[in-house]
């Protein structure tokens, strides 16, 4: 652990070298993405195919054992990853496209559109998201497309706020004002000069939005508000709840989907936060270097 801390500290000094956390996060996401893509090749029978007794204990042929239907938990996990990640990516992209456009336009032009946007985001940031999703899903149907659209439509305000404040500062920079003075149109200024400064932030938002979407998909699945014809990690959690994996003490069925969601969310959070830090230098500047004061640390000396 001290090696981890040491390398984190040296990164802060020399900057730009990937931290162990970042490497870990990228590895986790690559692994799950590869697994999702390879699922049809590795388990051509698809999800839900019975290969043995229900709740069979993990063995060499089925490393995570079998679930309530006698299907291989690894196969379920990889097939489930396809849906979970697909929902995550599509809803995440939708969030960032909507939030990015709203944030860029309102931050760049200001005026009544900005006021309107800020009030709208105020509203969306206050109302509890999950109950709204529940109501919308219950009223408008539970097809996979609906799940994606619901999550996308209800998640963009956060992104819009971050992008707006960045666009607002970029607009004031000298080179942007010069470009305007030299006769560049609003559209050109926005796309050529403001957008590139916002792109890393959009990347960070995408990572975070993907995580959120996967989380909410699992919640909707658990409440029975999603299309059950496909499996997903959320569906696996819901199934192990409804079909007695806890009573059967089948921890090999219960644990994998939750851990998968936790790991993916942890990874998207780490990646998103680091991207954000690299974009926004203000975040990494501590007010005063207090190294001299901080040695020995207060808690340490108290011991």
């Amino acid at each position: 652990m001290s090696a981890l801390a040491e390398s984190a500290r040296s990164t802060r000094r020399t900057a730009r070298r990937p931290t162990p956390g970042l490497v870990f996060s990228i590895a986790v996401l690559s692994l799950f993405t590869a697994g999702a893509l390879l699922a049809p090749a590795l388990f051509p029978a698809g999800s839900g195919a019975q290969v043995g007794d229900p709740y069979a204990f993990p063995s060499s042929s089925h490393v995570l054992g079998l679930d309530d239907a006698g299907s291989d938990v690894v196969a379920e996990l990889l097939w489930g990853a396809r849906v979970s990640l697909l929902v995550g990516v599509l809803a995440g992209v939708m969030t960032v496209v909507l939030g990015g456009i709203a944030g860029l336009v309102s931050g760049y032009f200001g005026g009544w559109f900005e006021t309107l946007l800020m009030r709208t985001t105020d509203f969306f940031l206050v109302i509890p998201v999950l109950p709204v999703m529940i109501v919308v899903a219950a009223l408008y149907g539970t097809r996979l497309v609906n799940t994606i659209v619901i999550i996308g439509l209800l998640s963009w305000p956060g992104t819009a706020r971050v992008v707006r404040s960045q666009a607002k500062t970029v607009r004031q920079r000298l080179y942007v004002r010069r470009a305007r003075a030299m006769g560049a149109s609003h559209g050109r200024t926005l796309i050529q000069h403001v957008l590139p400064q916002v792109v890393p932030l959009l990347g960070a938002s995408t990572a975070l939005a993907i995580g959120h979407a996967i989380f909410f998909e699992a919640a909707l699945r658990f409440l029975g508000l999603a299309d059950r014809s496909t499996t997903s990690w959320g569906q696996m959690i819901a199934d192990s709840f409804e079909r007695g994996a806890i009573t059967a003490e089948a921890w090999w069925v219960l644990l994998p989907p939750g851990l998968a969601i936790g790991l993916v969310l942890l990874s998207t959070t780490v990646i998103g936060r680091q991207l954000e830090q690299r974009t926004n230098p203000r975040l990494s500047v501590s007010h005063l270097g207090l190294r001299s004061f901080r040695r020995p640390t207060p808690v340490q000396e108290a011991q």
């Binding site: 109950p131 989380f215 658990f222 409440l223 806890i246 108290a302």
Partner: protein
């Protein structure tokens, strides 16, 4: 004076937000696909005469604006409609449910605050060391876990020791008040712990960064220069000021907590508002769904208001800034 004016302004904002939420609630249900009479009467292929009659009865033949005004009027009198399922007024059902949700959220919040602030202070004081990295990773990971799954894992771990669902033991005959309290408490333990475990992460993160910032402030350096012991400075100077942003965040996180509470109440069959909204989905009980949604929204707005007010009472700087704005 400044504090009062700030709070007054927030109050107006909160009333506006609640009105918006109420309006949103109305149109969300009114604009849903399908004929509401179909859904309400649960007679999908009812005859044209029956539909027309139901439409008249429910006032659905009136213009949207008239319907909306009538809805506001009824709401202002506390009328939320009647549940399709048990024919009781929605309001009565919701008051019962809310009284059950409050202890769950209250105890869960206490667990989350204790864990979150404790770990956050530790991480902030040990900034950049392995304790810090460990605490931040743990907090982020726990916050990433689906609440329903954390609840199930706790159920799995404690299934023999603690009750696995519901709020009371059905087989407890004629319990004394003390027995009853103990029984509910035992049932409350696991759901509240689940809520605490999935919520504390964000408090840890905000507490940590706020500690780090406060520890690098001039007055902390001054206090150290005066010769106070580091632990004293940490507690008296740094911790007190670092708590402020956390107070606001706790208010803001009530929205997320509501989402967690829904899932957790379903896992543990806890008869609260979250469980109510779930049951109303299953039964297609639209008035209940609408009412529960309203309760959630209004309580989140109120908690935000409360957090803002606490914040400006605690920190004179905010008060002044608020008055100047």
């Amino acid at each position: 004076m400044g504090a009062l004016r700030t709070i007054g302004r927030r109050l107006v904002g909160a009333v506006l937000l609640i009105w918006l939420a109420v309006t949103f609630d109305f149109f969300l249900f009114r604009l849903a696909p399908g004929n509401p009479v179909d859904q309400m009467s649960r007679i999908p292929q009812g005859s044209a005469e029956l539909q027309a009659q139901l439409n008249r009865e429910f006032g659905l033949d009136q213009p949207m604006l008239v319907q909306y005004l009538r809805y506001l009027e009824q709401l202002s009198q506390g009328n939320l409609g009647v549940s399709f399922v048990n024919r009781r007024p929605v309001r009565e059902n919701l008051v019962d449910a809310l009284l059950n949700t409050l202890p769950l959220v209250g105890l869960g919040l206490l667990v989350a605050i204790a864990l979150g602030i404790g770990l956050g202070v530790l991480a902030g004081a040990y900034r950049g060391r392995s304790v810090d990295h460990g605490a931040v990773t743990l907090a982020t990971f726990m916050y990433s876990l689906p609440p329903q799954w954390v609840g199930m894992v706790l159920l799995f771990l404690f299934s023999g020791l603690l009750p696995t669902g519901g709020m009371t033991d059905q087989f407890l005959i004629d319990p004394t008040p003390a027995q009853k309290l103990l029984d509910v408490g035992r049932h409350l333990l696991l759901p509240a712990l689940t809520l605490g475990l999935v919520m504390f992460g964000q408090y840890t993160l905000i507490m940590r960064s706020s500690m780090v910032e406060t520890l690098s402030d001039d007055y902390v350096l001054t206090a150290r220069a005066k010769g106070f012991r580091p632990r004293y400075v940490l507690r008296r100077h740094a911790l007190r000021n670092a708590l402020l942003p956390t107070v606001t965040l706790i208010g803001l996180s009530v929205g997320a907590m509501v989402g967690g509470a829904i899932l957790i109440e379903v896992v543990f069959s806890w008869p609260g508002v979250g469980r109510t909204i779930y049951d109303s989905i299953v039964a297609r009980d639209y008035p209940m769904m609408q009412g529960a949604f309203l309760v959630f929204t209004v309580s989140v707005v109120l908690f935000n208001l409360l957090a803002d007010a606490t914040y400006s009472l605690l920190d004179p700087r905010v008060r002044r800034a608020g008055a100047g704005r």
